[in-house]
Amino acid sequence: MKAPAIRFYQTGSFAVGNRLLDPEQRSVQAGEQRTNSITCGHRACQGCGEALGARYALDAAMRATNGQMIAANATGCLEVFSTPYPESSWRIPWIHSLFANAPSVSTGIAAALRAKGREDVRVVGQGGDGGTVDIGMACLSGMFERNDDVLYICYDNEAYMNTGVQRSGSTPPAARTATTQAVGPEPGNVFGQGKSAPLIAMAHEIPYVATATVAELRDLEAKVQSAMEVHGARYLHVFVPCPLGWGSASKDTIKIARLAKESGIFPVFEARDGEVTEVSKIRRQVPVEDYLRPQTRFAHLFAPEVRTDVIARIQAGADRNIRRFGLLGSGADKEGAVLVGTCADQRTGTCAGPGQATCGLASKAEDHEAGR
């Protein structure tokens, strides 16, 4: 299933704009029937991308499975902030076992359901990037190659946030973490390391692999829906900014996720059986500098002097993504897009203008003008 080509220009979250849409076009979160799989009162930080991503993904999965779903969770922020008992935020059957084994626990759940003839009940495994691309990779790869009937969702915030922001195999080059500190001649994480879990997943030729960001939540929901329409091993990699670890403002989580996509830093695509089948085009390309600047994990690239050399290397990485995935070119903007008015806040007279919290691309004043 593809997200309806609806272009919102007025907010970062898209959720607000639902009131401008026909009911059938609205997001899962806009519906009264949403499950609140992870409900309010959890202890995530303000602006947590992972909490947002998990909420949208799981509620979409609950809708797709008609509420017949079990989730397994790796150790990590999502597990810790959601379960200090008796304050569990989970309104779905949910199990946490260990850091590295969420894919295998999911395999076991799926096997049990198959043995019991309950294949109507679906399984979602989830974890952060540490639990997925590092310590959980063996279990994940095993689950993939066996094509077990599991959707595994990685919420990628690019470091071990729960333990205090240490480098993971998903940490980008030059980023400052507690174990790649901004000291020495080459401050931050080194270049030439790290891995792409989505590409690794694709190498297993599993039926469905997709990436998404919390800037495009309707796209995330649609991808969860698509994933649930097929059986076998499926992988969804969600880019979730972490204000604490990235040193970004809590209000900028969605904006930063969007800049990651619009700069080519994070390619958003869909792949089936090992082949890329859909790419979310960059709507208006921005230099990586726009993405890097609002994050103090990259502050050493801008002060005391601007490290144009390092920024150029990061730009080269983004350019490679753009070439490799074909992220530029005829954007879907023109094809059957439903353009939804101007800034909703302008309509209602509450728009605070560029820089306002809910404006995804608020740094660009022109985005506040009529839908482009």
């Binding site: 509420g67 017949q68 779903m69 079990i70 397994a72 969770n73 597990e79 810790v80 379960t83 200090p84 008992y85 569990s88 989970w90 309104r91 779905i92 059957p93 949910w94 199990i95 946490h96 076992s97 260990l98 590295a100 084994n101 295998s104 626990v105 999911s106 395999t107 076991g108 759940i109 799926a110 096997a111 049990a112 359901l113 198959r114 043995a115 019991k116 003839g117 009940v121 063996a138 279990c139 790869s141 095993g142 190659e145 066996r146 077990d148």
Partner: protein
């Protein structure tokens, strides 16, 4: 009707009779034949409904068993040695969550040096993992214990490890009585989970627990094992009623009534010990044996009752607690608190070294005469050890121990083992 079966096959067939719904398999010697046999039974449709999952590691095997068990499926896996250590983190998790998984451990040494032969280093290393540990003396007992293990695990909602000596039992073809499906069905009711991942009644399993409740949750695993001290003999008695065989229980005594010297051990070596005792008894030596079937929970009371009247106790162990000596001995000493008797720890059979009747003859005779060191290493080649110790003294770069010692020992076939 009795059948001649390899131990692994006997266990596989017994496990199949218990109708497991999810079996996770990862190959490691000497356990592999068990899951190979189960794989055939599932693939052929003889064991159904059952999902046989070829996982990518023992860690995944236990993890998938955790997921399956929490979803209400009867879950089984088997491992040995390094595999057991590789799943250690998940072992503690399964017991902490209180999931009644049953697992065979085909006991094998732990490296380095790498060694595939039998001793008890693997399961002994997991004695505090929260799993019940039952040790089989024979193949018949191994298969019987598996049937009892599922009932024990599910009644208590706690995981059970059935330990059987690698190769000595797993690969030995012996006469066994295989129960019928009807018998096992009557003995082992369907799995009724205490906790269940169910979309109709969503619950959270595996929440973060802070200092305010952690000790209490942990204590429950201990409480269950204390309950098992009562339940294990009850299940063994029920088993005897149903199947007509004495299998399981906490401990098993052999000719201890008037024994001045009692040998305590676990597993298949008890057979050799009993044969040796019979021969020594003919010579007038008052010697008996106690076999421990349930090592976790450790039956302090039963051991105390069985050993308390003896003059000396010799604990024969197939594992070494480096830095102190005996593991089982330490537990036995707790059982004998306040009782004055000679206690000997004998480390024997590490890495598959045969424990022969001839060696046991000498050992028990020396023990009866109180000529043993408190910590004795049976059939240790001290020349080889001393040569390596000398090399270490003479050079800081004396090289790797195993390879040096192998050079000294020479080809395996060159001398007596």
């Amino acid at each position: 009707m009795p059948r001649q079966l390899e131990g692994s096959r006997a266990v596989a067939e017994a496990v199949a009779l218990c109708r497991p719904e999810v079996i996770c398999a990862y190959p490691i010697s000497p356990q592999t034949h068990i899951v190979e046999n189960l794989s055939r039974l599932v693939k052929s449709g003889e064991l159904a409904p059952c999902e046989f999952v070829n996982v990518e590691s023992e860690f995944a095997a236990m993890s998938a068993s955790i997921g399956a068990s929490a979803t209400g499926a009867r879950a089984y896996t088997a491992t040995a040695s390094q595999g057991l250590l590789y799943m250690t983190e998940a072992l503690y998790n399964a017991s902490g969550l209180g999931l009644p998984i049953v697992m065979t451990v085909a006991n094998r040494a732990i490296g380095a040096p790498i060694n595939i032969w039998n001793d008890h280093s693997d399961s002994m290393s997991q004695r505090d993992s929260g799993w019940i540990q039952l040790y089989a003396e024979t193949n018949q007992e191994a298969l019987d214990l598996h049937i009892q293990a599922f009932r024990l695990a599910e009644e208590l909602s706690t995981p059970v490890m059935v330990c059987m000596d690698g190769f000595i039992l797993t690969h030995a073809v012996e006469r066994v009585e295989m129960p019928t499906q009807e018998q096992v069905d009557a003995f082992l009711p369907p799995f009724q989970p205490r906790q269940l991942l169910d979309p109709d009644e969503p619950i959270t399993i595996g929440a973060m627990v802070g200092p305010e409740a952690f000790m209490e949750v942990k204590y429950l695993a201990h409480a269950k094992q204390m309950q098992a001290l009562e339940l294990i003999p009850e299940i063994a008695a029920d088993f005897k009623d149903a199947f007509g065989r004495d299998s399981g229980g906490l401990i098993r005594s052999y000719r201890v009534e008037d024994a001045e010297t009692i040998v305590l051990a676990l597993g298949s070596v008890l057979g050799t010990i009993k044969d040796t005792i019979d021969e020594l008894r003919e010579g007038g030596m008052k010697v008996g044996a106690v076999g421990i079937t349930s090592f976790r929970p450790f039956p302090l009371g039963a051991v105390r009752a069985a050993l308390g009247h003896a003059q000396r106790v010799l604990v024969l162990e197939k594992a070494l607690a480096v830095g102190i000596g005996g593991i089982v001995s330490a537990n036995v000493r707790m059982a004998l608190a306040g009782i004055q008797l000679h206690g000997y720890t004998v480390i024997a059979g590490l890495g598959g070294r045969p424990i022969t009747k001839a060696s046991l003859h000498r050992l028990f005779t020396d023990a009866a005469a109180d000529r043993l060191e408190p910590l004795t290493f049976l059939d240790m080649d001290w020349d080889v050890v001393n040569r390596e110790l000398q090399r270490m003294r003479s050079s800081r770069a004396s090289g790797p121990h195993a390879e040096n010692i192998l050079r000294d020992v020479g080809p395996v076939a060159a001398g007596p083992v």
